[in-house]
């Protein structure tokens, strides 16, 4: 019922206009392309250095169900999830914050028929575009390196979109709470902690029990589980739980961000 209520009041053309603004900004600045490029290479470098480099020392690893895979196969889907996360986050944190706080872009938009929820939805959609450019390219690399099959790569793509949605929503929500650029240091640190301890480089089952429970509460863990399950073709009912977690996270972030835009800019 909530969705029908929202659908009745949300105009796709206005959401599209918000996305269109970001396409325009992308076209007019070369610096933006550089940022885009670096976001793709970072997880790729980790994959090559740790997945393949360190992987040669680690050797094959055994999954909980007894299946044995190469270490690079284990790490690659995690880096895929990370690239979905960082693509969505960089768009919805730095860029979003700049538009909201400094460039007054949202303030200008709010003088038009566009509503706060439509701004949030447009920004999130744009973050998904950026995120899927990263993950699409990364999946091609994975297939080329024989780390997944084309079929499972296709199955993993929508999962990475969901990861982008979840982190994009929360990224916007966090941005609306940021007081200044210095707050982004905390975000970067948090992001790095997630990157290291979300079952990315070693199975969470190897962690101490308390740690395992803690990690299971954090978002990148669910993202990695879901994307890895699909990329290596290891399906389980748990993936539905991961999906629900990410969906709820994205929706909550979106609604919270829209409300904060309303509260801070429409006064």
């Amino acid at each position: 019922m909530v969705t029908t209520m929202l659908a009745a009041r949300i105009s796709p053309s206005r959401v599209g206009a918000v996305i269109n603004r970001n396409v325009g900004a992308l076209r007019s600045g070369p610096s933006y392309w550089l940022v885009l490029l670096s976001g793709f290479f970072e997880p790729l470098l980790y994959l090559l250095s740790i997945g393949i480099g360190v992987g040669a020392l680690v050797g094959p690893i055994t999954l909980p169900d007894g299946r044995v895979i190469e270490y690079a196969q284990f790490v690659a889907p995690a880096m895929l999830a990370v690239s979905a996360m960082s693509g969505a986050l960089s768009e919805t944190t730095f860029n979003f914050f700049f538009k909201m706080k400094y460039a007054k872009t949202f303030e200008a938009i709010l003088a038009t028929p566009v509503k706060p929820f439509e701004i949030a939805l447009g920004e999130l959609s744009w973050a998904l575009v950026r995120s899927s450019v990263y993950t699409g390219a990364f999946l091609v690399v994975m297939v080329a390196l024989g780390l997944t099959s084309p079929g499972w790569a296709l199955a993993a793509l929508p999962a990475t979109l969901l990861v982008g949605l979840a982190f994009g929503g929360v990224g916007m929500a966090i941005s609306t709470l940021m007081r200044g650029w210095q707050d982004f240091d905390m975000l970067t640190t948090g992001q790095f902690a997630l990157f290291l301890f979300s079952g990315t480089f070693s199975p969470v089952q190897d962690y101490p029990a308390a740690m395992e429970i803690l990690v299971a509460a954090t978002p990148l863990y669910h993202a990695v589980e879901l994307v890895r399950g699909l990329a290596i073709g290891e399906l389980s009912w748990g993936l539905l739980g991961n999906t629900a977690y990410l969906l709820a996270m994205g929706a909550a972030g979106l609604v919270f961000a829209a409300r904060r835009i309303q509260r801070t800019l429409c006064v």
Binding site: G24, A103, A108, P113, C266
Partner: protein, 301 residues
Amino acid sequence: MIHARGLIKRFGDFTAVDGIDLDVAPGEAFGFLGPNGAGKSSTMRMISCVSMPTAGELRILDMDPVREGSRIRARLGVCPQLDNLDPDLNVRENLTTYARYFGLSKSEARSRAQNLLEFVQLQEKATSTVEPLSGGMKRRLTIARALINAPDLVLLDEPTTGLDPQARHLLWERLFRLKQQGTTLVLTTHYMDEAEQLCDRLVVMDGGRIVAEGSPRSLIETYSTPEVVELRFTDEVDYTGKLEGIGRIDPLPDRILLYADDGDAAVNEVHRRGLTPSSVLVRRSSLEDVFLQLTGRTLVD
């Protein structure tokens, strides 16, 4: 176009707008005159359906801003006090991108942008980024952007604050043209000359209230005299007693204002009394004098 009764805006304990009544008719150029902090911008933000009234009645274009904000904003053009042009887009894209927020098609956006760039004389800057433009150019672009949806009502919050005289005159001329085309203009200003140039009718605001209302001419006639004499003395002597009876006296820190029906006659009387001011200026009365008379303070700073 605008109808307000007992309109109030509070921010916590602070009352920015304290119960104002307004009616603006189609085709009118209406002004809010007042110093900084008088409640002009808060009123404008409520009229532009961005900020919600705390209490009172407000109708814009015969609609309710709380329930139909988006529909009202579709027919408004808003030029904010501080330019919020998009730094990531060039001059033309600032207009075409904005047009899309109003649901205009790509081709319609492009042709309107072209016409408006000509209207505000920025065709040569079409592919420039926004940042290197002068203050006057940025303001003209902001006004062009406010016109992209062919609005019924244009709201301008201090349109010429911070601009040099040449840029101001060019802007006034463009705004005057808009007015001639029948567009309803509502503007705020703390410049008397601007209000006199552009407004058919205005209200003087102070401390969140309307303290006077009328045409610029009628306000001057009601609250001032046709002419004002400005006297400056080099010494620190109190001259108010010596000037008594010539006209109403307003002693300011740096000069004494003498309100008179006939300025030259008043100056003659000053000299006849043997007073020797270091400078004498006879001028027509302005809205500044109206404001001074109404609030006891000067308008700008």
